[in-house]
Symmetry: none
DNA sequence: CATGAATGAGCGTTCATTCAT
DNA sequence: CATGAATGAACGCTCATTCAT
């Protein structure tokens, strides 16, 4: 490998690292203020540069949130697919999916917030068609799991799968609204607390 | 009563009715597109008038969402207070609050959506200080209820009140995201389904 | 004269009186805030009616200031012409013109203020062509008077007529900026003070 | 001095120069059309740019006239203070002040026009409090000078200082209404003409 | 005569985006 | 890579004006 080649690779890596860093900043600002209400100047300020300079790295404001969301979903599905690949019973799979979700919140909270708050509005834009696709896969995965667990006795037999699916789906992401990394509970512990609630309910026995 | 007096009253009533009508339209559009992303022209279009005409009725775009949210919260607390005034055990009160919440979703879904999506961003504006106040009252009401029920055996003794409070708070409003009035389930039936989940959990016995 | 005829005349007179009253109000508001910066709502408020109602009386905002200024100039030239018709020496005529001007200020201060502040901007509008005409007549009157007085020894022989004309012209209207009706000096006394300054200067002898 | 430092200084200087240039253009347009009647697009047109582009340089239309007027008054008082510091008799000081005023008109006529036409309306805005302050200083300076000259025999003993102050104050700025730079008379010569009138009056001896 | 609701053009301002340097 | 000046479309809002009542 020539030194020239090595330099070029180093530059490309540095460039990718800078993009990732800027996207992290953008995600934080978008999540804090809302995507539509955030100006690219605010993102640039947070990144320590001027508004126009962001356009060296990104085509548009839209491409930033696109990259944030698509990156988040790619990583998320990698984890979900690993859980599904592990096999096991319905409850075990459910535990795995919920835990993976809380880990995703821990890993990239701003992206989760954006996904919750903005996905619905963005979905009408063809560019963000993958949001609807991901949502459909999500629904199929969960209703399938719930129906299987309901049949095999893992879950209550009278579960209304669509209702419980929505309940779980939303519940899973809610923690992003108040979770603060480095708090007293680790993501896995929080997952346990939530699972206890969801699986057992709150009624005294 | 003089005819003049009657006319003045009629005009005031008609004006109030028009405001309410326009606020309903505005709430729908804000909820559908997001407050920041909605232009006043879009609201006006939906109301069948020109952008500037809205300003005969309202001071600003901000005053519209202000009136929507404050009106929503006022009506909501009227219902909550009625439930609390009825007394009864912790589970009964919880059932009453959840049912009142689902009725509020049925009555004014767009306002609930706005409350969920925009309250956090608006709260930093002094004009919307009442959002934080209402949130604090909400937290006190729920944590008090949960702790009482936990002590008297209505609920599990090991409940983590702050965690469960957030869980309930968010769960309660989630249905606004997908509920469609006139669907197969009435608000009270949906409330029952949710209560079953929350109280019993989903695990098979 | 039939009673019907008398009624019609009475109605026309009442209408004219109302117009005059409204124009007086409009002139005050225009003078206080500036014509362009004044909204017709502000004029209407001051007149105790709603914005749209003014349009029963006047075609437009522009027609209001038109009527104010043309009425002011008509009355002013009536007075100036009376002074000129009296004849007499240059100083006596100058005293008459200055006194008539201060009386005009006393009679309709807002119109004088508007004339000073707005005439220059309005003059480019063909509708206000009479402003330029009046200004030209004014210049001819004054330069003629000054040159005559300079020749016959009433005024200094070395007077630069165009310079002094502008000086007098502007001086004459300045008092409108600070004059308050009902103050300690009558218009005629103020005229005397100004004339003493203009005729004798301020240097000690 | 490092090259970097030199560049930064050059950029700051260039920026300041551009601001000054734009403010000069704005002052001309405001003076010609009136501040309220001028649109920022008209200012931008005159500056060869689009309306929105002005906001790169200035916060608002109001901040433009603010900077024009405050800059004008700062420079004016620098000159006045220099005259006062020179000392000398009352007549000499009066001559110095009047000459400085005509030089200010020559230097920045649009600012003088704006000061005359807009100061009164702007003064009610707290942002322009310095206008009233400057006016008060102006009054104290002139009435003090006139009273002193009246006592020591430089001016007529029967001078009514407040009346003459207003007369001088207004007279001094009137020339801005018709003065054209590069005309047949220099600012100092115009000052001489005005001083002859004011000091001696126009009456023949 | 006056009201009150609406119009529609245009205003001051914002902001995503471009590009020469 | 980043800057800084500019663009141009669109935004929230104002206001002179209209007109049915």
């Amino acid at each position: 490998m020539s030194p020239r080649r090595r330099n070029a690779e180093g530059a490309a890596a540095a460039r990718a690292a800078r993009r990732t860093e800027l996207l992290g900043t953008a995600a934080e600002v978008f999540a804090a203020r809302g995507y539509a209400a955030t100006t690219v100047r605010e993102v640039a300020d947070a990144a320590g540069m001027l508004g126009g300079s962001l356009y060296y790295h990104f085509d548009s404001k839209e491409s930033m949130i696109d990259e944030i969301l698509s990156g988040f979903l790619t990583a998320l599905w990698r984890d979900y697919d690993a859980v599904l690949a592990r096999g096991g019973g319905a409850e075990q799979t459910l535990r795995g999916l919920v835990t993976a979700s809380f880990q995703a919140i821990d890993r990239d909270r701003p992206a989760v917030v954006l996904y919750q708050n903005e996905a619905k509005h963005l979905a009408s834009n063809p560019r963000f068609g993958y949001l609807a696709e991901s949502g459909a896969r999500f629904r199929e995965m969960w209703t399938g799991l719930l129906e299987q667990g309901s049949r095999d006795g893992s879950f209550r037999a009278d579960l209304d799968a669509p209702v419980v699916y929505r309940f779980i789906r939303d519940t899973v992401w809610l923690a992003a609204g108040w979770y603060r990394p480095g708090g007293r509970l680790s993501p896995d512990e929080i997952a346990e607390q939530y699972l206890a609630l969801v699986l057992e309910g709150i009624r005294g026995r």
